[in-house]
Amino acid sequence: MVVDRVAHHPTHAATLRPALARRRAAAWRHVLKAAFGYLLLGVLGFAFALPFLWMVSTAFKEPWQTFQIPPIWIPSSPTLSNFTQGWNAVPFNRYAINTVIITATASVGTVLSAALVAYGFARFRAPDREILFTILISTMMLPPQVTIVPTYMLFNYLGWVDTFKPLILPSYLGGGAFNIFLLRQFFRTIPTELDEAARIDGCSSWGILWRIIMPLSRPALATVGVFSIVYHWNDFFNPLIYLNSESRYTLSIGLKYFQNAYGATQINLLMAVSLIALVPILLFFFAAQKYFVQGITMTGLKG
């Protein structure tokens, strides 16, 4: 009894032993936490990846295998013919080219014009700057569908309906409030001493933008580029209302009409062409992801 009480008394020599025990317990707790965390992440990650795996599996199946219960995950004789058959049933080559043209030109416009505008807001003082910036921020709250009807009428009046212009040109007019905001936040983290030094060397503000700000902002510019490419690649609403001729369809619209024609019966073809439409954006994302995560964490989205 007495010994016990002494051992638990903090002022006695035994303090060393509890400290060690505490450290060991902490190490154990860390291992347990890590094991539990990995387990949870593994299960959830598997659940999140499952739809993709299901898609890949279906894309390689023979038609009769798609209707087997319980489902088979690895088809006994995987076939590539779904890809060629599905892709050639509809002019998907044309749609893919259209999608690439629209996505590439619109994204270049988004990055360039968002950078110009963000540079203006980040570096130049003007009496109306704060008002304009507030307006810019509040347009983020504006649902684009509110303006879609008059915008459509305008493009229709200009004869732009059923061309790529309504899908591309708006990107050159500012590139979106969110992108401008993101780049402005980033530009403001670049020290103005660099601008001043360049100015003393005779550099114009245009030169400062191209030689100093842009090269230093690669992660942020890449982030905006990724956002823009993903958005335009996946966009469905705008191509749906602006493009009428089959030869001008994008992949999204093409897939939708392919589904109407083949979806219910030939799910293996549908999954195969959907997978082809996904792969470029996936590859792109993997290539850009290093920049992208860096860009997001560095730009301080919180304002």
């Binding site: 130049f124 003007a126 649902p143 008059p150 009428m153 609403f237 619209i253 549908l270 997001i296």
Partner: protein
């Protein structure tokens, strides 16, 4: 002498002042030069159309031909004679008020998991973010197959758990939940934003809380949530604005059916404007959507004073 010097000083001051104002003018000119693309876009593609759409809302405009003002006829039709308007509004509200809070909770929990300092986090981050990158028609078609009542993955998984799965997209009660489930897979964007915010929470706060004997739950409730509350606010507002614009999932998977169960607001707007060519009526609908979203945003901003914590404001 003194007078002369004073005058000279004054003159120097004036010219310096003039030089400064000329410099300021030049800066203002340059500012407007750089923001010009956005100004053109704002007036031409945002403010102009916004005002014109307000005008159209009180008209019977079609895509082509003359139109005239019809007063409040569009709004009368909408509120009194168009049952689909209410149906679409209620469906959209159902979608928004279920999918956004659920999505935020899942996004926050995933971000908290991803914020642990383990090896291989980049891989998990990518897995959870990927659905958001691929959220196009291809992925919606994939989910259509997963929801297939007889051969889809979901009902097979449910059957393994001894549950007879519903007809999902074919059943008016389950079609909207199906679209919400599909959307919950898409929480990558709010998740990444939460993650960025979590990584900014100062570690010493946790350490001192641990010394006071705080557990995980207390730390989350008292430290993490208050510090990321501005981001919760940001995600909530953007999530709601996005949710009120749900369109493609319903258009591609169900066409608004069955029995109008997934007939969402934008589908009705799209049908009126681009299938029936009723530009006036569609504009009126767009403005109602705008007012609803604006009201929601204002309500959230107003309540946010009670629950959003800004570190710079001394804990208010």
């Amino acid at each position: 002498m003194a007078k002369l010097a004073l005058r000279a000083g004054k003159r120097a001051q004036v010219t310096r002042g003039q030089a400064r104002s000329r410099l300021q003018q030049r800066e203002a000119v340059e500012f407007h030069f750089y923001v010009l693309p956005w100004l053109v876009g704002f007036f031409g593609l945002t403010l102009g159309p916004l005002l014109y759409s307000l005008v159209l809302a009180f008209s019977n405009a079609q895509l082509f031909g003359a139109w005239e003002f019809v007063g409040l006829a569009n709004f009368r039709e909408m509120f009194r004679d168009d049952p689909l308007f209410w149906k679409a509004l209620v469906n959209t509200a159902y979608y928004a008020f279920v999918s956004v809070p659920l999505g935020l909770v899942i996004a926050f929990l995933l971000a908290a998991l991803l914020n642990m300092k383990f090896r291989g986090m980049a891989l998990f981050r990518t897995i959870f973010y990927l659905p958001s990158v691929t959220s196009g028609v291809a992925v919606v078609l994939l989910w259509g197959w997963i929801f297939n009542p007889s051969f889809g993955l979901l009902n097979y998984a449910l059957s393994r758990a001894g549950i007879q799965g519903p007809q999902w997209l074919g059943n008016p009660h389950w079609a909207m939940p199906a679209i919400i489930i599909m959307n919950l897979w898409n929480v990558g964007v709010p998740m990444i934003i939460f993650l960025a915010a979590l990584q900014d929470v100062p570690q010493d706060l946790y350490e001192s809380a641990e010394l006071d004997g705080a557990g995980w739950w207390t730390k989350t409730l008292r430290i993490t949530l208050p510090l990321v509350s501005p981001v919760v606010f940001f995600n909530l507002v953007l999530g709601l604005i996005g949710a009120f614009q749900v369109f493609m999932q319903a258009y591609v998977l169900t066409g608004g059916g069955p029995l109008d169960a997934t007939y969402v607001y934008l589908l009705h707007l799209y049908n009126n404007a681009f299938r029936y060519g009723r530009m006036g009526y569609a504009s009126a609908r767009a403005w109602v959507l705008f007012v609803v979203i604006l009201a929601l945003t204002l309500i959230i901003s107003w309540t946010s004073r009670r629950w959003v914590y800004y570190a710079g404001e001394g804990g208010r």
